[in-house]
Symmetry: D2
Subunit: 323 residues, 4 copies
């Protein structure tokens, strides 16, 4: 299966490298980036034949069977639709689009064309998160009652975000985790922002959620963790509690009179989720080859994004918002 | 210093035992309980001379210098006032009273009499919670931004609570932890209940809080933890995160093909907080002997209880409530 | 049951306090110490009626039913024999005597008198060590193959020991652990000392052992651990490995860019083994009251001590010594 | 730099894959294996042009600049010498040869030809082991006094080994760890085998060591760990203790009434040391390109192997053997 990657920023570059080297049955044949120099650099490094400036050119290329879209979120839906119209499959980074309407248009195009669409909810492919989910599915914790999801980024660029960037780019993963872990739908959202110094921007957010099955959940996001990437989940059930802890950056420790010093967590997403990023591309490749529908498609992306918009409204109004 | 203990239920019996055997400069001289047989049993076991049916009798006894009140919460304020009126000191279990008005009356009586009053926020005397608080005070985590407090009881009697019982008996500790850890005041409360099977009762609650200094917090309480007592706090700051983990019931583990099995947490409060219960009585005894004012008195109790009432209102209305 | 404590150094003072306050059905009625002032001090603090300068006086006292011997090891056997001759029971600190001959004499006296004798192998009463032992007994690790026992003291007085002091006072616990955990007898010993600066003295020792059932073991002792008391065991079996980890002095941690700092272990024996010291006295008291034979008596003490002497010989000769 | 891999068993296949995909500036151009079908399979899978049946053919190939030798240990020295004679560099799996004489011949050939030789002591490239070593080098633990090294394989093929296979293939890594961690030379060896059911074979071994600087060490090896690959080291120093723990196979845990279940360690070497295997090849490639001498060459391999032979003698005789 021959892939083209659209957008070679931090995430797109990783997808490109994995497709070139680590995903069986996948080949990377084209790169596109508005910054054509960046496209050429990545193409050169990975020995990829074609570099384009636009998604349109890449999608049109005869050698491309499927695309990975990692350009800014406003461009996702358009690329999905363009690809679908020429019968090509798309793996899209989250969020699937800027609006629910765009998600619906992209979904319609994909369904009409009968092509595959998968969204980059990579935590579902992480061994630890998956282990917790599987434990819950096997009934090991009884019925879920409380879910906590924590996602804190290390300092990376600016230490604040616009509310919509925070909710649509980061918190959307936590909404997906809450839905997946609880096996239920979010029906009520209440969000409290942690204001940044710059007016109108946030350092972080906490969200509390009520679910259809009577469970509750909280989410904790922050964009400037001094100790690295913090990615945890905890699901408290009637029979047990299941948790995902951070992965320390190594397993050495030194214990002296002052205490027992262990490593901080792996620093950021490239280290923490390498296996999950590869696994999601492997799964997508397999779906396309086998002609099956990706498990994590437009409906999952839509459900999380609807909640993100409700949380944005809660941030604006201070009220609890029904989804 | 000669103590009388009022109320010898689960908590009062522990206080009695610690006063009799483990608190330097303290002697236990009287027990009172409406169940006079229970009072006699504890008195006999601990070789205590006097057993009464009422707090009034105990407070009046010449041999008693100070009382520990561990009877139902509606009786706390009355006992504090009666004791103050005869110049005796009180260590009262939380909450200090059933209403803010009662707290204010008790406070006035205590101030007028110049006696000591301490409230049973024992977590402030726990080595782990105190270590986190001290780390924060030394600036080790930078400025606090997010506090999480978890208190889950093992199954104990019924697996549900009336909202006011849950908020005033259990969550009040978490409100105190959030205030203490953040060094700030809670200004806004939003609570979501986990409904129990019986109408009008709760299994648990999550609360989200906004603090005066811009920090936020969540609280997670549940009354039926299958794995024992879960008592944690986490304070995320601009430079580090500080946490209290549970104490495992032992340090043995067995690692086989299925995994690495460690002990569950200490089962409940008597095991988990033995040292803290003794430490708070030691501190109170020292305050009275030295003539100093207990650090954790009526104002701390009042501040937490005001938040508890706001949370109860949020539970009723679904709205965010300003404190 | 009325106890007299002989020797109120570090360990004897603890036994005295526990007997006075924490052991049901036990009363502390007499103290003896060659330093009569020390005897009086402890007696005064614990409200004990009688203080003597010699074990002989204490043993003769009509009010004493049983003794706890915590004086220097050369005095143990004599006190046991004197007590036995007047029908009194003994709980003796380890080692039971200075020589195997003395152990045999004490054993004979005890058997002839029909009194109880228990030796202070307190780790057998520790919840974590016991949990590992019970797991092994239940077959959870399959057949034991390798045992590791670690005992490192914090710096305490001098940072070196005479070989016989190290082996008879400290390593003897590890020999007992190896026997207890493996369920087998030690048949071969090889010891390597870590020389201290002072000639003829050791900082520590490692011992390797071959057991009757084909298992092997190592012991690691050191007398100057900078980070506190280190007390661990690991038993590797054909189906699993069981381990005892140290108990951290609290459960707080702080995670920053430099790492995740946890508490060092509990500092020394008084903190680490408080529960075990009480449990061994509770068990001894129960044996005497019930008229049963203590599980950890002279034969266990003898078996460990025989190995200690073999290890001393190995230290001297460099050879492997058969037991 | 164009590599040929000699021997594509478990380890050689990994080296081949890493050279083909994960080592910058490295290309894999040839495979040799006595099982020519295996050579063709790996060559096909990794798109490698040449497959040979003998090391001789591969070494002679013009396209090959350097070789990785992962064939049986008796063939290592010959391949190193053949490569050196035609000016080619060798990365050799451990042990470097079957005898010290062979090591010396290979060393002479390499020195005469001025080519690079690196031995596969991959643990030196593992982040955790390296972190401990670096901590020691920075003086963080004071002076090392005791080193423990544990290497237990999961059940893999037969559950026993010939003593020389165990000592030369597995324990040799631990001898290297002890030397590297302590910064000292081993001067005395005492080994005790754990006999397997089959006569003359071992399930495992423990070794105790005395070092030149007065430190001591133990090694624990077993070939049938039920819970997976166990790879640890602990270095006790005068100021602190530094340790490497196992890497759990994931970070999820489930805590119920029975306890807190975490993942077992990563199952075996391919998972545990992937990063280290890549890092050692990266380092070797860089050395050759830069014209520098690999840090872990013949002298390190020789020093560990001399100790392995001493340990074999100790196993045979029961005596302590001076190195």
């Amino acid at each position: 299966m021959r892939f083209g990657v659209v957008g070679v920023g931090a995430m797109g570059s990783l997808h490109a490298e994995y497709l070139a080297k680590r995903v069986p049955n996948a080949a990377l044949v084209a790169i596109a980036d508005v910054d054509i120099a960046a496209a050429h650099t990545v193409a050169g490094r990975l020995e990829v034949e074609h570099a384009y400036q636009t998604a349109t050119e890449l999608i049109a290329a005869a050698s491309v069977d499927a695309i990975v879209v990692a350009s800014p979120r406003r461009t996702h839906a358009g690329a999905i639709i363009e690809a679908a119209e020429v019968g090509k499959h798309t793996f899209s980074e989250k969020p699937l689009a800027n609006t629910i309407e765009e998600i619906d248009s992209a979904t319609a195009a994909v369904e009409k064309a009968g092509v595959a669409l998968q969204v980059g909810f990579h935590r579902r492919f992480d061994a630890s998160f998956r282990h917790v989910r599987d434990s819950i599915a096997r009934g090991e914790i009884g019925e879920p009652r409380i879910v906590h999801s924590v996602s804190r980024d290390p300092v990376w660029g600016t230490s604040s975000r616009l509310p919509e960037d925070l909710l649509l780019e980061t918190t959307i993963h936590d909404f997906d985790m809450v839905r997946w872990m609880s096996g239920s739908e979010i029906v009520e959202v209440h969000a409290v922002g942690i204001p940044a110094t710059e007016p109108g921007r946030l350092e972080g957010v906490i969200v509390s959620l009520r679910l259809k099955n009577g469970s509750v959940a909280t989410i904790d996001n922050h964009v400037a963790s001094a100790y690295g990437y913090d990615q945890r989940v905890e699901v408290f059930g009637t029979q047990a509690v299941a948790s995902v802890a951070n992965i320390p950056s190594h397993q050495a420790s030194v214990t002296g009179a002052e205490g027992d010093l262990h490593a901080p967590p792996l620093h950021f997403f490239a280290e923490r989720y390498e296996d999950a990023y590869i696994a999601e591309l492997v799964a997508f490749t397999k779906c396309v080859i086998d002609g099956t529908t990706p498990a994590i498609g437009a409906s999952e992306a839509r459900a999380a994004q609807v909640v993100a918009f409700a949380a944005l409204e809660s941030l604006r109004t201070g009220a609890t918002v029904r989804v």
